[in-house]
Amino acid sequence: MKIAFLSGKGGTGKTLCAVNLASVSLKSVYVDCDIEEPNGHLFFKPLQVKSENVEVFIPNIDKSLCDGCRKCVDFCRFNALGFVQNHVVIFPNICHSCGGCALVCPKHAIADVSKIIGTIEDGIAQEIRVISGFLELGQESGVPIIKKIMNKIMLIQDFVLIDCPPGSSCATVESIQSADFCVLVAEPTIFGAHNLEMVHELVKTLQKLCGVILNKTNGFYDPSEEYCHKHKIPIMGKISYDEMLGEINSEALIAVRENIKYQKMFEEILNNIIEEVRHETTIDS
C-alpha cells in the first residue's frame, strides 16, 4: 500500500505525519519526494546509505560537423538553443532534455552529454527503509529525480509513505501517481484552507482517494475543518497544537519514540487511514 502526504501550503506538517506514521508501522518505507527541501533524513538519520546520481542528457554540438543550418535552433520549443555569430549556443539550464535537437540534426552533429541534477539516497533507520531525493542547488527542475524514485518504489509491496513537495503542480503530480491514497495535511488558517482546496482539486482531477489530517488545531474556528465538512472529506485525525510536540519536531526527533502519548495518537491515525483505504477499496471493487 502506498500513501502520499501532501498539503499545498508548506509547513503544515507533511513530514511530521509521514515520519511518525512510518515509525509506528511494522515494516515501512519512507520516501522523501520534497527534493528541493528534503527533511525526512534529518529525523531518521539513516545508516548504510547508498547514494546514486540522477542525470539528464543535454546536447553537445560537434562544431566540425555543424554547418549552421539552424534546424535544431528552430526546432527547440524551450529556446534552449541560440544562434550567435554562426554558431549554435546551448543554454543547459533551460534545456528540458527532450532530445529533439539531436534527432532533427541532418549532420548528426549533436550528441548527448550527461548532467547531474541531483542524487537519491537509500538507507536504513531502525528497520525503516528511507529513500530521499536531493535536487542539486541551482538546478531548476527535480521532476526527473522524482520519476526515478517512483520507478525504484514501483514494485515494493511494503507499506510506503510518500512525503510530497508542497504545491499542486507537476512535481506533486509525479509524487502521487502511484499512491493508493492521499493524506492532505492542513492547518487551521484561511491560508491552510485555501491551499487545501487547491490540493483537493488536484487529487480529484487525478481521481485519487483522500482523507485529511488537521494539524495544529487550537479549539478555535478552523477553516480547513469547515472545508472538509462541506466537501465530505473524511478526517483521519486531529493533532492539536502542542508546544512539546513542536519542540520535539523542531529538534528533528521522532515524536512517537519520545513519548507514549504521541505513539498512541499516531497509531490511531494510522489505523484510521488503513481502515479508510480498506473501506474505500472494497466499495470500488
Binding site: 499545498g8 501550503k9 508548506g10 509547513g11 503544515t12 513530514t15 528541493e36 527541501e37 527533511n39 534529518l42 526546432f75 520549443r77 524551450f78 528540458h96 532534455s97 527532450c98 532530445g99 529533439g100 534527432l103 532533427v104 535536487l135 542547488l137 541551482g138 531548476e140 527542475s141 527535480g142 520519476k147 513537495p165 508542497p166 504545491g167 499542486s168 503542480s169 507537476c170 512535481a171 506533486t172 503530480v173 492547518e187 487551521p188 488558517t189 484561511i190 491560508f191 485555501h194 491551499n195 487547491m198 490540493v199 482539486e201 488536484l202 482531477t205 487525478l206 487550537n218 478555535f220 474556528y221 477553516p223 508546544e243 513542536g246 519542540e247 519536531n249 523542531s250 529538534e251 528533528a252
Partner: protein, 287 residues
C-alpha cells in the same frame, strides 16, 4: 526602484505573514505574490477593486488523432517524458506528463499529432491604491517558472515606484529562481527548527549562485528555542546579516483568519516585525 524578495526554503515559516506586514508598513505601491502553487497574499491584502484576469498559457500539449493513428509507436519510443501510452491499438498522450517538446509531432510518419494550447494558470492584477500582481497555477499545471516571470512582468506595465515587495514560494527550484530575477535583496524567513535551518542553508547557497544579496530573520521563536544560536552562528560564519527575531504568537493565526495583517492588531509578533522592517529598509537602501 528597489525590489525586496521574501523567501524561506522551507514552507510555512511565515513569508506571506511578513510580506503582508511589510506592505502595510511601507505603504508599498507595487507588490506581487509569486507563490503561484499556493498563493495566499490576497487573503490578507483585501482589494476594493476586481482583478483583471488573464489566462496563462504554458507550453502546448500535444494530442494524437486516435481515429487516424496506425499504432506504429514511433512517438512512444522517442518521447523522453514517458507521456505516451498505448490504449488498445492506438496511442494516447498524457497531458500531465507532456512537456510540449514537439518531438512526437515532428516524427509522426502520418502527421496526425498536433499541438493544443493549454491554459495552465490564471494571472490576476489588482489596480487600486497599489498595483498587486498575483496568479494561481491550475491543478497539476507545469511551467510555474514561466508563470512567475509573467506575474513579475505585469508589475512593470505602467508604474514607476521606489520600492517593491515580492512574496516568493518555498523550495529552491524553478519558481524560486524565476522570482530572483530583478530582486535587489532577499529576506530569508527561517524558523528555529533543524528542518528550517537545513532548508535555509540550501536556499542561501542557491541565492548566492544567482548573486542576490541575502539577509535573514528568524520567525516563531519561543523561550525554549535552542536553535536560534545555531542560526546566529550560521549567519556569522557565512557573512549573512541577521535582521531580527519574531516570537511565536498565538494571535497571528487569528489575525490571518480575520483577513488582517499582524501589524493591523496590537500583538507581540506585530511589534517585532516593525523592528525587523526598519532594519530591512536600512539594507535595501544600501543595495
Amino acid at each position: 526602484m528597489k525590489q525586496l524578495l521574501i523567501l524561506s526554503g522551507k514552507g510555512g515559516t511565515g513569508k506571506t505573514t511578513i510580506a503582508g506586514a511589510f506592505i502595510k508598513l511601507s505603504s508599498c505601491k507595487s507588490y506581487a505574490d509569486c507563490d503561484v502553487d499556493a498563493p495566499n497574499l490576497h487573503l490578507i491584502m483585501k482589494q476594493n477593486s476586481i482583478a483583471e484576469a488573464q489566462d496563462f498559457y504554458g507550453m502546448n500539449k500535444y494530442e494524437i488523432d486516435e481515429l487516424k493513428c496506425l499504432g506504429c509507436g514511433i512517438c512512444k519510443t522517442l518521447c523522453k517524458f514517458d507521456a505516451i501510452h498505448k490504449n488498445g491499438k492506438t496511442y494516447q498522450i498524457d497531458p500531465f506528463s507532456c512537456e510540449g517538446c514537439a518531438v512526437c509531432e515532428y516524427f509522426c510518419p502520418i502527421g496526425i499529432i498536433s499541438p493544443k494550447q493549454h491554459v495552465s494558470g490564471e494571472l490576476l492584477l489588482y489596480r487600486s491604491e497599489a498595483l498587486f500582481s498575483t496568479a494561481k497555477i491550475k491543478a497539476g499545471g507545469g511551467n510555474s517558472g514561466l508563470l512567475v516571470t509573467e506575474v513579475k512582468k505585469r508589475l512593470r506595465q505602467d508604474n514607476i515606484v521606489d520600492f517593491e515587495i515580492i512574496d516568493g514560494s518555498p523550495g529552491i527550484g524553478c519558481p524560486v529562481i524565476a522570482s530572483m530575477s530583478g530582486a535587489d535583496l532577499i529576506l530569508l524567513v527561517t524558523e528555529p527548527s533543524l528542518s528550517g535551518i537545513s532548508d535555509m542553508n540550501r536556499i542561501a547557497i542557491t541565492a548566492k549562485k544567482f548573486h542576490v544579496p541575502t539577509i535573514v530573520c528568524i520567525n516563531k521563536t519561543t523561550p525554549m528555542s535552542k536553535n536560534v544560536n545555531i542560526i546566529l552562528a550560521y549567519c556569522a560564519e557565512n557573512s549573512i546579516p541577521m535582521v531580527g527575531t519574531i516570537p511565536y504568537d498565538e494571535t497571528v493565526n487569528s489575525s490571518i483568519n480575520q483577513g488582517l495583517s499582524i501589524v493591523d492588531t496590537d500583538c507581540q509578533a506585530g511589534n517585532a516585525v516593525r523592528k525587523v522592517y526598519d532594519k530591512v529598509r536600512q539594507f535595501i537602501n544600501l543595495t
